[in-house]
Point group: D3
Chain length 132, copies 6
């Protein structure tokens, strides 16, 4: 698979190199995963995506970073993105997700999928009390 090349470090533009440096510093690891190596083909998307992700998924805010990763897994599973599922499951575990939490997450994903389709198939009208 792949519709574009994975870039190695020697193939980066200076702008992409700067982003890779920031990823390495932020994550405190030398490893850059394939997602960023592909986005590096388009430095402006690389930059925009990285800074958005860093802002949204970072340690500041009301939600625990581990919980944020679990929400990411939920969306990625519903959207059917194997790459995203694998990378964010790894991140969630790195940030402390236990196997029990993981199993509860997966059970909710499955349950929500089921009731989503039941509600849709029946065309259930939204209760007045749920509307703002």
């Amino acid at each position: 698979m792949a519709t574009i090349k994975l870039l190695n470090d020697s193939e980066l533009t200076p702008e992409a190199q700067e982003i890779f440096d920031d990823i390495r510093t932020t994550r405190q690891t030398d490893y850059i995963n394939n997602f960023w190596r592909m986005l590096a083909n388009d430095p402006s998307t690389l930059k925009r995506t990285w800074f958005s992700l860093k802002e949204i998924m970072g340690p500041s805010g009301a939600l625990d970073p581990k919980i944020k990763e679990m929400i990411y897994i939920a969306v990625s599973s519903a959207h059917n993105c194997p790459y995203c599922i694998h990378s964010h499951t790894a991140s969630a575990r790195d940030k402390g997700m236990t196997e029990m939490e993981y199993h509860e997450l997966i059970a909710i994903i499955g349950m929500a999928a089921e009731t989503n389709r039941l509600a849709t198939a029946f065309g259930v009208p939204i209760d007045e009390r749920y509307k703002l």
Copy 2:
């Protein structure tokens, strides 16, 4: 909308009535929302769905019920189920989700949607280290 009737309390089979009783007891409210009033047309699906939901979304387990509802919103948004989004957003707020948490949740849903489609469009290969 709706492909089947919403049943009121006087139209229930005894089996459906039992489930409605359990929903009322479990949730400590007399209100039964439209989703269950539609499922009541098929008591066996009503029963199976309610007991699964009660087990998965209940207070026992490793994850906070509020977090569980937030994961439900994430899946329902990715699956595009307005009924489910509205009912679970109401539930999450009932269980204590703050507006700041809500906004972080929505931001993650949007961000994940974006990177899901970027990874898919490029066909990014899964890094070896993410595979078990």
Copy 3:
């Protein structure tokens, strides 16, 4: 809603008029539903879509037309198309779908949605025996 006008009979091009005539003859009813009245804005898509639908959903073939409509409901529920769900649920009932069959269909749709997302979230590898 609607991004384009519903055309009434007096607004049709001759090519669209011919297709409407064929829909009326084939279905043995004067009623033309909104889907075709919108497609009539683009006669070539109207024509192509109608002849494909007529060929695929017609009475010839190995599958019962009622079963074909039920499969259509399944796909439309998974794709989240309220228009399609409502129109094909009406068609399936017209073609003899019983309420018991309908409830089994809905239960399968919900169950499949659940296991689809469980398999995806875990990245279950396909068994060798399922591959051709």
Copy 4:
């Protein structure tokens, strides 16, 4: 791929072992496919999922088990779950689906996908007669 281990028979908890025994008895085969070997990591989801599937997809009810499998393929195709498509296509063939029936099923899946998106893109309003 895979975010969790496939368990072999010697790694099961007693509760998971019981479910595997029931799968073998019900299906009259010793073979347990990968889906269940992954779910076995979480015996409560394994149990709940298996009993729901057994109830919904079993031989009792109004719909032929072969037709049930074909509906499962339809949902799984629309949800884009390669694992589910492959396993349920195998099941449908085991239960007697002919190649002609299979081709009609696939044609309906494709056709429904097309009209689903046409109706959505145009925002076709639901005809009054389709509403309950």
Copy 5:
């Protein structure tokens, strides 16, 4: 519908007000559509989303802004977002999309949906020549 309030101009934070000013200047209209009035509840998401959209959908770049809007309609139709379909169809027409171009766009959306599901249902393996 709606899970949160649409904010009118008097309810904005100063940060949100600044973004609304930039939207008005950029688009040369006083009208602010509902999407931004909802996002205004969370100024940081409002800001990030607006600047990303402005960069990606603006007049600079290789693709014509009209074509960009048409691609947006395509994605929004496949994702089933009626709000997005309606707002971007209006934008595409504002930017010069003709009805003939619109009909070709819709036909492609429908056709792609069909072949997407056919390829998925059959599990068509990717040709070697399509892989980088």
Copy 6:
């Protein structure tokens, strides 16, 4: 993967052979990609799909064939069809898509995915001015 055999030229029915001949003539290449080799198992779907695709994606019409392919990539990415993404990305490049155009396309796909889910999660009501 694959739920059905890829047919080589010696295994075709005469009707399928005719379609393959037309594909070769139309595309001016001897190469037939896997999608058609699978559809060849069902000559009537092969024929219908090929003639629809030829009509919709061909050089006549208001939109440039390159732009048509880019719209196809957008839908296929949102529907998550790796086969379709790879084959239409190859086609778009064959028809002259530059890498800069490609990157803008991918950025729009990602951006649309994000705002689609934001609008859905908030249940943003459609502005009156966007309704016909």
